[in-house]
């Protein structure tokens, strides 16, 4: 439940809001208004425009791209309340947070928790400034849902590890500077033989091969490691602690993914789309009563999802641990995102199924690609089936019959 702020707190909130507003007014290039974080974040600096660069640098310098991370490592050092105000002010100005990617979403928070002081000093500030792109070296051809089955070996060679093996589905691998990977340091124990290692993507012996996806783009790669030397100081935590650290990172990933709806909100709400592409009565209601009913049905469930997501955050904060309902967020959010994409297509009819060509608007074309890409959201970051297993076993205590 939202609590009333004490007068003093309210005053400091107002002061901060003014500070944020001023900063955005000074630094946010108006030409980027309403654009949002494009793929430039993931695809790298090559495609960054001068305006995008200046905005990234301004936010990075202030640490506000990672608003709640500690100031000593380049974060914003803001309270959650302040971070929420910052979000509101960004949205109000049609601005966006230009610092993103896997470094922000999953690796940074994990390193802050498990990394050594030296590792934090080295790796966190460039993430806060949006300078270094990270990729996730988890999955392998035979280690998908059964991630702990991974076989990529890191052999102890005294001052370094020698890494051999293959990762796959590495998102952004072709653009990444560095990879956080889980690798095997011990063959004798499935889980305790796993370690968490940071690998430079430009090390000799690292090779990436982009894979084309059904949406027509190649956002992920096969990644091959052949006799790659990785300095010992790139081990996070202890040898054999990789599974624990790696799973913690997955929690961050899932939290971030639950609200993700690629192809997402382009074109406005479903109702906006329906009004644009369909018939509207004189009183502004949709002429198709069935569609009207279905949109309302969707929006009701979406609203209750947002309530659930908020409740999960509040409960976790109050309990000082992860709320039980967090485990349901990823599967709920991703399913709703897919449903929305399907409905968008349906409302647009064949106009919503364009592949290319100027007889489709950019929003329509992105919608199609997003609809296709969005099929991945229930697969990656722990598939819906795996989330269901987790809920059934860990939360509900239902026994595994095997």
């Amino acid at each position: 439940m939202a609590t009333q702020l004490e007068p003093e707190a309210r005053e400091s909130a107002d002061v901060f809001r003014e500070e944020a507003r001023q900063f955005i007014a000074d630094k946010f290039p108006q030409e980027l208004k309403g654009k949002g974080l494009s793929m430039a974040g993931a695809e790298g600096r090559e495609k960054e425009t001068p305006a995008q660069k200046s905005w990234r640098e301004a936010m990075g310098e202030r640490g506000w791209g990672t608003p709640t991370w500690p100031k000593e490592y380049g974060g914003g050092g803001l309270s959650r309340k302040q971070a929420a105000i910052l979000d509101e002010e960004l949205a109000r100005a049609g601005a966006y947070n230009p610092i993103g990617g896997m470094g922000v979403m999953m690796f940074g928070p994990t390193l802050l928790e498990y990394g050594s002081e030296a590792q934090k000093q080295e790796h966190i500030p460039p993430i806060c400034r949006g300078e270094i792109r990270w990729c996730q070296g988890y999955s392998e051809p035979n280690a998908g849902s059964d991630l702990a089955n991974l076989q990529t070996m890191a052999e102890d060679k005294g001052d370094h590890y020698l890494v051999n093996g293959q990762k796959t589905w590495t998102s952004g691998g072709q653009w990444a500077d560095k990879c956080f990977a889980i690798v095997r340091t011990d063959r004798s124990d499935k889980h305790k033989g796993i370690s968490f290692l940071l690998i430079d993507m430009d090390s000799p012996g690292v090779e990436v091969r982009p894979i084309t996806m059904i949406s027509g783009t190649s956002p992920f790669c096969e990644t091959f490691f052949t006799d790659v030397k990785v300095p010992k100081e790139n081990l996070v935590g202890e040898e054999g602690q990789g599974w624990t650290i790696g799973k913690r990172l997955l929690q961050h990933e899932r939290t971030n993914l639950s609200g993700a709806a690629p192809g997402g909100r382009g074109g406005g709400s479903l109702a906006d789309i329906a009004k644009k592409y369909g018939k509207v009565n004189a009183d502004g209601t949709l002429a198709d009563p069935v569609l009207r009913d279905r949109i309302a049905d969707f929006e009701i469930r979406w609203t209750s999802f947002l309530h659930t997501a908020r409740r999960a955050v509040e409960e976790s904060k109050a309990q000082g641990g992860v709320s039980e309902i967090s485990s349901a967020l990823k599967k709920l959010g991703t399913k709703l995102g897919q449903e929305r994409a399907e409905m968008t297509i349906e409302i647009m009819g064949l106009q919503g199924l364009g592949w290319e060509g100027d007889n489709f608007s950019p929003v329509e074309l992105q919608g199609v690609r997003g609809w296709l890409y969005g099929k991945a959201t229930t697969i990656y970051g722990g598939s819906t089936e795996i989330q269901n297993n987790v809920i059934a076993k860990r939360v509900l205590g239902m026994l595994d019959h095997q």
């Binding site: 849902s145 349906e346 089936e385």
Partner: protein, 356 residues
């Protein structure tokens, strides 16, 4: 599976063998890679016509075999399994319009050419992105047809268009007054908007008031037959994959959660097959064809929608790759779903036909 006679069984086996050996999905990939808006292989279509498939519903006197829609559906289903891109459905539907509505001269002029593969034809009914035969603005005056048709399938290869105007169906040959604008959809087949600007048009005078509806029934069942082939393959491929893929030291097919999913899909597929076959048979018998065609297409829409999504999901990451075929079925599935009636349209019409 409907009980087939010997001829039908032979036809199906021949189609299956040809599609498997001569027209696997790699052939569609070649067509796609060529980027040609026509999006089919002329030689392959020639072979299909030689085997008699373009004339399956056409009377023998006009060079066809007069086997009917159930037989046509068997072939189309097999071609759907391998995503064979061809104007076979489009041409068959145009032929059916001429059979139902054409004069003797029109039949004699076009049906033999369509049966032999010498000419290709397609239906041009809808004018926008949704199926809506009640909203046709195209009109004809003094034998000249004017109007715009949207997203016409197989338009690029067509020599002849069967065009719905306000007052009936017309034959329009490609040429003067017919301008195509390519519509590249996610299935990467042939689709185009067509501007008819005073194009010479000949009316299909017979067939009565229900001519367009009768042709649309046929369009629905034949499209549903293609979708049936697609759903069957997505199901088979997924089942095979689950039986092979090992995670947690066991094949995925040993997980009860997945067993139940496949059991549900199996039951759905059974429903879809019965509905599609009943639709094809109803068109052949002429009894209750309109309702049966709606049931066929609506069930095809429902089941293929679910099947294509589940197919991807149950494959995991590999299902998301362009290299693996399953995504191609998803994309084709969504383009066929609104064709000749998305589910909302069909339900509404079903209720109307039922008088409620």
């Amino acid at each position: 599976m409907a009980v087939l006679n010997e001829e039908q069984e032979m036809l199906r086996d021949m189609a299956r063998e040809w599609a498997t050996n001569e027209s696997p999905v790699t052939e569609f990939r070649k067509v796609r890679a060529s980027g040609a808006p026509e999006a089919f292989d002329r030689d392959a279509y020639g072979t299909m016509a030689e085997m008699g498939w373009a004339g399956i519903i056409i009377p023998e006197e006009h060079g066809g075999s007069d086997f009917g829609f159930l037989s046509a559906g068997l072939v189309v289903e097999e071609l759907g399994k391998t995503l064979t891109a061809s104007p076979l459905i489009a041409t068959t539907l145009a032929a059916s319009a001429i059979m139902l509505g054409g004069s003797d001269e029109q039949k004699a002029k076009w049906l033999p050419k369509l049966a032999s593969g010498e000419a290709i034809a397609t239906l041009a009914v809808d004018e926008g992105p949704h199926h809506d035969p009640a909203e046709i603005a195209t009109s004809v005056s003094g034998g000249k047809l004017t109007g715009t048709k949207g997203f016409v399938a197989e338009a690029h290869g067509a020599d002849l268009f069967v065009v719905a105007a306000k007052d009936g169906l017309y034959l329009v040959e490609k040429g003067d007054g017919v301008t195509l604008t390519t519509r590249r959809l996610t299935d990467q087949r042939s689709h185009a908007d067509i501007a008819f600007d005073g194009a010479a048009a000949e009316k299909l005078e017979n067939g009565g008031d229900t001519l367009l509806d009768d042709v649309l029934d046929r369009a629905r069942v034949l499209t549903a037959a293609e979708m049936l082939g697609m759903a069957q393959i997505v199901f088979d491929t997924t089942l095979d994959y689950l039986k092979q893929r090992v995670q947690f030291n066991q094949v995925l097919s040993s997980f009860q959660a997945l067993q139940h999913r496949m059991a549900d899909l199996f039951a759905d597929l059974a429903q879809m097959r019965s509905a599609v076959e009943a639709g094809l048979q109803a068109v052949d018998s002429g009894v209750g064809a309109s309702r049966a065609a709606i049931v066929a297409k609506a069930e095809a829409n429902r089941v293929l929608h679910t099947m294509s999504n589940e197919g991807i999901q149950l494959h995991g990451g590999i299902g998301m790759t362009d290299e693996y075929d399953i995504g191609l079925y998803l994309k084709r599935a969504r383009v066929l779903e609104p064709a000749w009636g998305a589910t909302g349209y069909l339900k509404n019409r079903f209720a109307t036909l039922g008088g409620y």
